[in-house]
């Protein structure tokens, strides 16, 4: 037996005996080399052997982990929401979620905020600082109602990657994607109208609908391919639906990317019923595939798609720089934008424009995609390891969100309340349904450093879920 085979056997025994638990990180190559007085390459070969036997698996830049003995959990089945338009509820739950932001020592596993600590953001700080040093009064003044031209030029440039041919005049800058969606809804609907949404669907969209007195009809949605076109057609046949809101790329909360054929089918259906599409593209640039998936907007021939996006997930949410490419609804969108906030913060618009113009955006995106994909791999191992069997987990293809479906009787509201005491917050699934469905679901994000604190938090959530399921069953 060679040295590396000997070491591999020893490690395999330790795993067998439970000294290294399923999902746990194995000692670093250097520390094993020191512990056993063998060379680095011997340890490496031992790890390769164990990997071949599927006893361990490697994660780029994170090290080696004991393979989970649990099977990979299935994705959630096609959702089955209420088949009629409903008024949106759940505001109290959203408020509860938002109030977590104020508690600085809380680990916000439910927060939709990106990692703000990466070095590829440094040029943004420099740009902000230089702008202020120059004391250019322009950046303290009111901006134009449609947003500053240099930014609209850069947004048009990056829209090319989604397949869109847009000019600066096709874009209206907003206070983040949130305002973009708010004004898009107002531009295509009147109070009392019906809008079709994915189910589950982002709570920010839901509350915007509620705020404008619009009813939502939730359309069954597949965790891999997105909104069911067949179910949407049935809904169109039955109800006077004014618009469809979708997050087709790196969906919030499930992370899927709708296949291009389905995007085309969705657009064709919406054309047939002469409705509009509000497309939330905010996570799309974080898709792990390259080039990024196309937007529905890029397939649009008659201006019925309102593309909404921002830099809140790719750069930083506090900048409040978003936009809408409103197509044929431009005039209405500008009016609604004026009504809602009048104008958008000026300095950060110029800063984001400069950041893109100077070529810092694409390298930053590349890095963030890598980080989130790596985070996802580790995070999903942890979930598999620490959560009980019998759950369904979405398989994100980009972004930094994951949707977990627990048994029907499970109450995530109670879970969240319990976790609060341990300084952890998750998002309760019922926020993602107009009628309060998905109380048995959770949304987690994986933007956090993959350190002991995060792993411990996932372990805590998993243990709490296991206890709750046990008490449901009892």
């Amino acid at each position: 037996m060679t040295r590396y085979q000997h070491l591999a056997t020893l490690l395999a025994q330790r795993i067998e005996q439970g000294l290294y638990r399923s999902g746990e990180r194995l000692p670093s190559i250097r520390s094993l080399s020191e512990e056993h007085g063998v060379s680095i390459s011997t340890v490496q070969q031992a790890y390769y052997l164990l990997e071949e036997k599927q006893l361990i698996h490697s994660q780029p830049r994170s090290g080696y982990f004991v393979a989970s003995r649990k099977a990979v959990p299935p994705v959630p089945a096609l959702s089955k929401p209420v088949q009629r338009p409903v008024e949106i509820s759940q505001w109290d739950e959203v408020l509860d979620l938002l109030s977590g932001r104020m508690e600085t020592d809380m680990l916000l596993l439910g927060n939709g905020s990106p990692d703000l600590t990466q070095p590829t953001l440094k040029p943004l700080w420099k740009i902000l600082s230089r702008q202020a040093q120059k004391q250019d009064p322009r950046i303290l003044a009111y901006d134009s109602i449609v947003g500053c031209l240099p930014l609209r030029e850069q947004v048009a440039r990056i829209a090319i990657d989604s397949g869109c041919q847009l000019g600066p005049d096709d874009i209206v800058i907003t206070n983040g994607c949130h305002e973009a969606i708010s004004v898009a809804i107002r531009a295509v609907c009147e109070p009392g109208d019906i809008i079709a949404v994915e189910s589950p669907s982002f709570h920010g969209i839901m509350q915007a609908l509620r705020g404008f007195g619009i009813r939502a009809i939730e359309i069954p949605t597949d965790a891999v391919t997105g909104m069911s076109i067949e179910a949407l057609e049935l809904a169109f046949d039955q109800w006077p639906i004014k618009a469809v809101i979708v997050v087709p790329n790196c969906n919030n909360p499930m992370g899927f990317i709708m296949p291009e054929a389905r995007k085309r089918a969705l657009l064709a259906l919406v054309q047939r019923f002469d409705a509009a599409i509000i497309e939330d593209d905010v996570y799309a640039e974080l898709a792990w595939e390259y080039p990024r998936p196309v937007s529905i907007k890029s397939l649009d021939v008659d201006g019925r798609v309102l593309l909404c996006s921002s830099v809140s997930k790719t750069l930083a949410p506090g900048l409040r720089v978003g936009w809408v490419a409103p197509g044929r609804y431009r005039d209405r969108v500008i009016h609604m934008k004026y009504i809602v906030t009048g104008s958008t913060v000026t300095q950060t618009q110029y800063a984001v424009a400069e950041f893109i113009r100077q070529g810092y955006y694409q390298p930053h995106l590349r890095r963030m995609r890598q980080i989130y994909q790596r985070n996802y791999e580790t995070f999903s191992c942890w979930v598999r390891h620490y959560f009980p069997c019998g759950i369904c987990v979405s398989r994100p293809q980009g972004g930094f969100l994951m949707w977990i479906e627990l048994p029907e009787a499970f109450d995530a509201v109670l879970l969240n309340r319990e976790l609060r005491a341990s300084g952890i917050q998750v998002v309760v699934g019922s926020l993602f349904s107009a009628s309060g469905k998905y109380r048995n679901c959770l949304r987690l994000n994986f933007t956090f450093p993959l350190d002991a604190r995060t792993e411990q938090a996932v372990a805590l959530v998993g243990a709490a879920v296991e206890r709750a399921i046990a008490s449901c069953a009892a």
Copy 2:
């Protein structure tokens, strides 16, 4: 005859002969001293003599001006708007006004933007620059839904000057006063409701009402004392009015300060009919009287006043830092804020908080008040001088806006179109009425440097008005 008497006689002759025109700036003391080979104090004494004779008048830091031979124009009479609730129109005109912001070489006499060039703003630039240098990720992150605590603490502090006892939890930060008013309206009303407004009333308020499907009833408003309480009572008797929106301090567009007794009477009336008051306080800190006039909010005992304000008129509009003190409507306001934009830009919130905390705000306000008051004195002389007789002009008591009423048949829309060609923009009065009244009125601002370009612009507007009136009469 002494030297100074001799010089005074000479100057009086020149004025008589029209060599120095009515309203024109006289030569500086230094240049007259050089021209006539006399001492500085001789020229000063000559000017004092002419001032005593009311042939000239001095303006602090601006010099001496030839007294106008025209009588001071009267203020506009009590307005007589339509006496029923109406849907708001005039969006096209507002859009036209906003599009002027994009034309950089235009002299925007209609813009509601402050002077951004004063040295008392320098510390703000420094704070913005230092913040960015520190690279504190907090300022790129989502803020709490109610806004950052340090800012709410400072806003509570400055609210003391308006007579309000508020804590940080009584304040919700917004994207400028514009969003504050938007969410306040949504918090107290449902679509189809009726709100009472001043007449004329700021077009941003009008459009917010329109956007939410609310009808406005315009209440007769006095150019010196504000909204008629008697007329408001009649309106309350007749219509189910949900709220009253007022700009009681340094009114936009007329500049009046509502006397405290009338503020109390307004509040008592609104209490009797159990309605709400939305108080736009955004120009109040620029009142020329010191201490600043009290807010209606400060008189409120049962939380029915929603105080809306921002730093857009006092510091800089591009910061998008505003707030609402929503009283009993706090929960609704937070919900509407979430629906509309989700959160407010973070960096500028911290910057404004620091600017106030470090004591830079009050000195800046003092300076800006002095500048605008001085500007007003010169500007109103120019208006008197260059505009024809028979006009009414408001007498602002703070802020930087002036309202001019021309003969009934006058069309300010046509005037504005004509002025555009000369690179000048004014605000057409009809924007300030739900029913398109006040087409014979203009709003001008006096934030511009009092240089030859501005004087020439006022002269151009005056001449165009004179021509238009003549053609009306013909």
